[in-house]
């Protein structure tokens, strides 16, 4: 992958959901764009490990960037998900109160939301809440309902956004780590492990590393602190415990531990919030997971620990400025920061993407819009969601739909192949998993792993022992028994 001679108009650093949606919005313009990530796939940072909530937008201080982009982004979310074939559910959210102290908090959130323009919020009585969500703790006293909130698969949105950008001409450069940035508007040089990349403007969407990237460029005016959040994910058999995203009253630790049903129908509980030393620290801890569980059962006592299928952790990129940092650097023209995008960053990302595309285009003298821009993706419904007739028809067209690779999530060989062959497709076992759900079910890959390894090795033309789980060095197998 020698890109040394190519000069891009725009280089985006970071292929998370923010970089992805910035790339997608920019790919509507006539420009040479690349999106760079140090990982082998997109969605391997915060965008792959968060709650996946499309927040209504009552948390942030009215007038802040967080509030503005959250409310705009949330409004855009259903439309963009439809275009990109990403599942989104308008589930609504509840913040619970257990006493009068909590109720005051709800009142504050309510007023915040009204000031920011959040629609449809209501403070509900205990009875109404329990009618809506009969399995909640009957000790609640009130709840704040926000009907505009929803849930989305964050990594699916991330992947689809970049795929859409790639379909529209953007280049996705994997395993390319930016190590240094020199130059100015019109001629930036990004030095990377894969050689130099030249670009007229640079957009810093590097997640938790965005402060380091800004420093490299010569404008390190902010710092980001990694704050970890840990989760427990339950089997789909437990789905349906709650319909809404259910928060406990916010505390100094953040929005509080929540209980929700993901778009895919699993129960998710978490996160806690702990500042950590390392930006690479995605370990889970027994204490944190215990805390998450003990707190979540206050929301809903019916959580069965035996049905946990996995746990994970994500790092919030908390800025010392208190708000999202979005805009052109004052010191280095042509260098744009999209940094400190902690929660509600996912919800805000569609709006951030549009906004950044506009200012970047403006700074390049107003880019022309592409005539043949494709705003959506050709996606297929998942086999598991089809009715019998559809299943029968699609199997006739493509027999690979008759080969079930992942028994827990009913993922077919056709879908695994498609996930690899698509633009910006999967290269790894985790890549296949995030795109198809193969390995995300209750057996967590025990059954499908050998099949997925085999398909990847054939499709990518590599040996089985070269097939990786994620980044290189994470090979699944080591060597042959009988070489």
């Amino acid at each position: 992958m020698e890109k040394a001679n190519i000069k891009y108009d725009i280089a985006i650093i970071g292929a998370g959901v923010v970089g992805g949606l910035v790339a997608r919005s920019l790919s509507a313009y006539d420009a040479r764009i690349c999106i760079i990530d140090k990982h082998i796939d997109m969605a391997m940072g915060a965008s792959g490990a968060n709650s996946g909530i499309v927040h209504a937008g009552y948390d942030a201080t009215p007038g802040s960037m967080k509030a503005k982009f959250n409310i705009e982004g949330t409004a855009m979310m259903p439309g963009i998900c439809r275009l990109l074939g990403v599942s989104y559910k308008n589930s609504g959210s509840l913040v619970l109160a257990f006493n009068s102290e909590d109720e005051k908090q709800l009142q504050k959130l309510y007023e915040n939301g009204i000031a920011g323009g959040v629609k449809g919020m209501k403070l509900l009585s205990k009875e109404t809440v329990l009618k809506m969500e009969p399995l909640l703790n009957p000790k609640i006293t009130k709840a704040l309902h926000a009907p505009t909130a929803g849930v989305v698969s964050p990594y699916k949105l991330n992947i689809a956004a970049i795929e859409n950008a790639v379909v529209n001409g953007t280049e996705f450069l994997r395993e390319t780590q930016v190590l240094g940035i020199t130059g100015n508007k019109g001629d930036f040089t990004l030095s990377t492990n894969k050689g130099d990349i030249f670009a007229a403007v640079v957009i810093n969407c590097a997640g938790i590393y965005a402060d380091d990237i800004a420093k490299m460029a010569g404008d390190g005016f902010f710092t980001l602190t990694p704050r970890k959040g840990e989760y427990l994910l339950f089997d789909r058999s437990e789905g349906g415990l709650v319909e809404n995203v259910v928060f406990q009253p916010p505390s100094e630790k953040g929005k509080g531990v929540l209980v929700m049903t993901t778009v895919d129908g699993n129960i998710l509980i978490g996160p806690d919030a702990n500042i950590v030393e390392s930006k690479e620290d995605s370990q889970t801890h027994a204490d944190s997971l215990d805390y998450v569980y003990k707190t979540a059962i206050k929301t809903c006592s019916g959580l069965n620990l035996k049905k946990v299928i996995t746990s994970f952790a994500g790092l919030r990129a908390t800025p010392d400025t208190g708000d999202f940092i979005i805009g052109e650097s004052k010191k280095i023209p042509g260098f744009f920061n999209v940094a400190g995008i902690e929660s509600p960053g996912l919800s805000s990302a569609p709006a951030i993407g549009e906004y950044v595309a506009e200012i970047v285009s403006g700074s390049l003298g107003g880019l022309a819009k592409k005539e043949n821009f494709k705003p959506g993706l050709d996606t297929h419904e998942f086999f598991r969601d089809m009715d019998l007739n559809e299943k029968e028809n699609i199997m006739q067209d493509n027999p690979d739909y008759g080969m079930i690779v992942c028994r827990c999530e009913n993922v077919t060989k056709a879908e695994v192949l498609d996930s690899i062959r698509r633009p910006a497709g999967a290269r790894t076992v985790d890549g296949v998993k995030r795109r198809t759900r193969a390995g995300m079910g209750r057996c967590q890959g025990g059954f499908c792993l050998p099949a997925v390894v085999e398909i990847l090795s054939k499709e990518l033309g590599i040996e089985k022992e070269e097939v990786q789980k994620g980044d290189s060095g994470s090979n699944i197998l080591v060597e042959r028994n009988r070489p």
Partner: protein, 417 residues
């Protein structure tokens, strides 16, 4: 497309194979055996070690050889089977929906169904082992498949968590293939697998077995680099100060099997929360008329021989049902697990007007020596059997006559002699 069959058997492991052979021999012409794999034999295909068949064939066979005995019979009897065919749903009217790359979607309507889908392994998530999420963590059965069928090494140095038979067998297997096994850790104070396997798989190769020990953290960003193990107290909580770092590039989990019952649940089959399998009567019939279960999908077996024997019983019952030869049920007796008994199969007994001798399989909750197994009806011991020793890893049984049963309940318990 809808097709009809008298008997459809789902799963062609030893349970499905034995049931199919039995039913065909008993005169059911249209038996259909379905499996999602491309070969008959179920999990036995990857169990290349010996130790199978002592009861059924009176000789010691490897897993593939054991399966082959049945497969040859299947071929000779011309039992119809479909491979590469996944059953995606079963309903209470005994309609079975299947998919297959060659035929697409076919729905079968059966008069009887035997569930023989085996089980799957419990994954890491179920244990909530904290730490990183690198590659190199396998369930023992997945590693077994990689090593024995695909001829691939999943790592170089292993720690095995769980001393169930699969874990023990894999400890030996990896060692024979030149991989190093640092230890087998078991959270319980006693080993989970058969003593024979402790001797031949661990002791023979000087592999340490660490009891009352578990993995409390996983380390390594990309591929696993090591684990922290620690001893646990009586309530299975790690004891501070006993933590130890063990370097390894592979962690195998042999931490239990879960019957594969999604299909059964969907059909409305009631499950036993302890076994994870269906609740059945002495004919191995579930709460749904004409749906039977046997093998690991019913409860986890340690000996394949018992699987085959159980499967034949299920087949016999299904055949009787298909031929309309079932007796009228007079009353239903619930079996209650008393002191020291983890579960029983069957879970209930249907008493007819003819006396029957009923074999009740059970597992104990812990290792107990010199005990009596009692069956109690209306506070009275109606049957008692002495046993030198029971262990959770080893299934035992008692035989009870229906004529001795009184009332609607029977408690099975283990007591010191």
């Amino acid at each position: 497309m809808i097709e009809k069959r008298s008997l459809v058997i789902i799963g062609a492991g030893p349970a499905g194979l034995a049931a199919a052979v039995k039913a065909k021999k008993a005169g059911i012409k249209d038996v259909l055996l379905i499996d999602r794999d491309i070969q008959l034999g179920g999990i036995l295909k990857q169990c290349i070690h010996n130790g199978f068949g002592l009861h059924v064939f009176k000789e010691e066979l490897t897993g593939p050889e054991f399966a082959l005995r049945y497969i040859r019979e299947i071929e000779e009897l011309k039992v119809e089977y479909k491979l590469n065919t996944m059953v995606i749903s079963v309903d209470k009217n005994k309609r079975i929906t299947t998919v297959n790359p060659d035929d697409g979607l076919i729905v079968y309507e059966a008069r009887s169904i035997i569930l023989a889908m085996g089980c799957r392994e419990r994954p890491r998530g179920a244990l909530r082992i904290p730490g990183t999420n690198p590659s190199g963590i396998f369930s023992a059965g997945t590693a077994q498949r990689f090593v024995n069928i695909e001829g691939m090494k999943p790592g170089k140095t292993a720690l095995i968590l769980g001393s169930g038979d699969i874990g023990l067998i894999m400890a030996r297997r990896l060692t024979l293939e030149g991989m190093k096994v640092r230890a087998v850790c078991e959270i319980m104070p006693h080993p989970g697998g058969l003593t024979r396997n402790i001797v031949q798989c661990l002791e023979d190769f000087n592999i340490p077995l660490k009891l009352s020990t578990t993995v409390i953290a996983i380390h390594g960003k990309r591929r696993i680099e090591g684990v922290t193990i620690a001893q646990v107290d009586d309530s299975f909580k790690p004891v501070k100060g006993t933590e130890k770092y063990i370097e390894c590039d592979m962690l195998l989990l042999s931490v239990g099997l879960i019957p594969e019952n999604e299909l059964a649940e969907e059909a409305g089959v009631e499950l036993d929360p302890v076994t994870g399998g269906a609740r059945v009567n002495q004919y191995l019939e579930t709460n749904i008329d004409g749906i039977y279960a046997c093998g690991n999908v019913l409860h986890v077996h340690d000996l394949v021989d018992y699987v085959a024997i159980e499967a034949e019983k299920a087949a016999k019952s299904a055949v009787r049902k298909i031929k309309g030869k079932t007796r009228k049920i007079k009353k239903r007796i619930e079996l209650i697990t008393g002191n020291g008994i983890r579960y029983t199969v069957p879970q209930f007994i249907d008493v007819t007007d003819k006396e029957e001798k009923i074999k009740i399989y059970f597992r104990s909750t812990s290792i107990m020596e010199s005990i009596k197994i009692n069956a109690i009806c209306k506070d009275e011991i109606i049957f008692s059997k002495k046993l030198k020793r029971v262990a959770p890893a080893e299934m035992e049984y008692i035989i009870i006559s229906t004529d001795d049963i009184r009332g609607r309940k029977m408690i099975i318990e283990a007591r010191a002699k």
